[in-house]
Amino acid sequence: MNRKRQDERLNDLYREHSGSIFGFLYRALRDRERCEELTHDCFIICRKRLVESPPDNERFFLYGIAHNLYREERRRLGRQRRLMVEKRDRLTGEEITQRDQHDELVGAQTAGIVRNEIGRLPDELQVPLILREYQDCNYEEIAGIVGIPVGTVRSRIFRARKILAERLRPLLEPKHEVE
């Protein structure tokens, strides 16, 4: 593949996948500017690797690069900053029950609660859940992206959902609580 065709292919990939790669990084890191940088880094790395070994599944390939960038970023940030952010705008399910349900269970605040509860999940549970729930990846793709067996993906997604079901119980419809 010559240079011009490589650039055209990269442009096509960027148009097609940059939004979803950014969406994945943003859901996992919640820092718009940094996630934009990482998204562009992802395509820079992709450009280099396209020359070395063109992938079969480009979407999967891009998510793999994005996941590596995410892990590096998390290492760089360290646990401290993440905890500070959580503490700043955490509003747990238990706190909601003490407030006026009608006012609190609507709008951005509810979205914020869901976001924070996903953010509080351990990394190894958070990434497979985001890839499954929001990025529409199947278990096999997630296994390839994260580098774990399919059975482990299934188990981690189940554990993540179980934790979220407990923490978000106050947000669930009343009929589900009494069934």
């Binding site: 943003y26 869901v114 189940f158």
Partner: protein, 153 residues
Amino acid sequence: MHCDRYQELISALHDGELSDAETRELTEHLAACPACRLFQAELTATGTVLQSWDETPPALRPLPTSPEPTRSPLEWIVAHLLRGRISIPVPAFGALLLLVLALLYWGRPAVEVGEQVQFADSDVVTQSLGERSDLIVFSGQFANLEPQGHWRR
């Protein structure tokens, strides 16, 4: 303990990732286990909450484009010549060079600023007029003359 495995299967069923055999096994278990039915309802409701209250990520902003450096036509030509994008045959280049030299010679002021020249049988010293170095004025008795350009000795 026994139900944990089935609850994992419920989660996988939610994602459409169960085999036919596992689906049949789970269906049989659900028919007999109220706790797993409750878990299934709760998991479905959690999935609905996750989707309904998903905070859509903002749009990815395009990369900032760096402005093209402004270049004079001469800089542009030199740069392109150096890169080999413009090829000029040697005779054409020679003719072009001669043309440029001729223009430079005929276009230059005949009298330099500060130079003593003869004008109407008198010695005068040329002076510059502001920043217009191609215009000269005269001192002495000709100081009231209009500024002139390209005077020859």
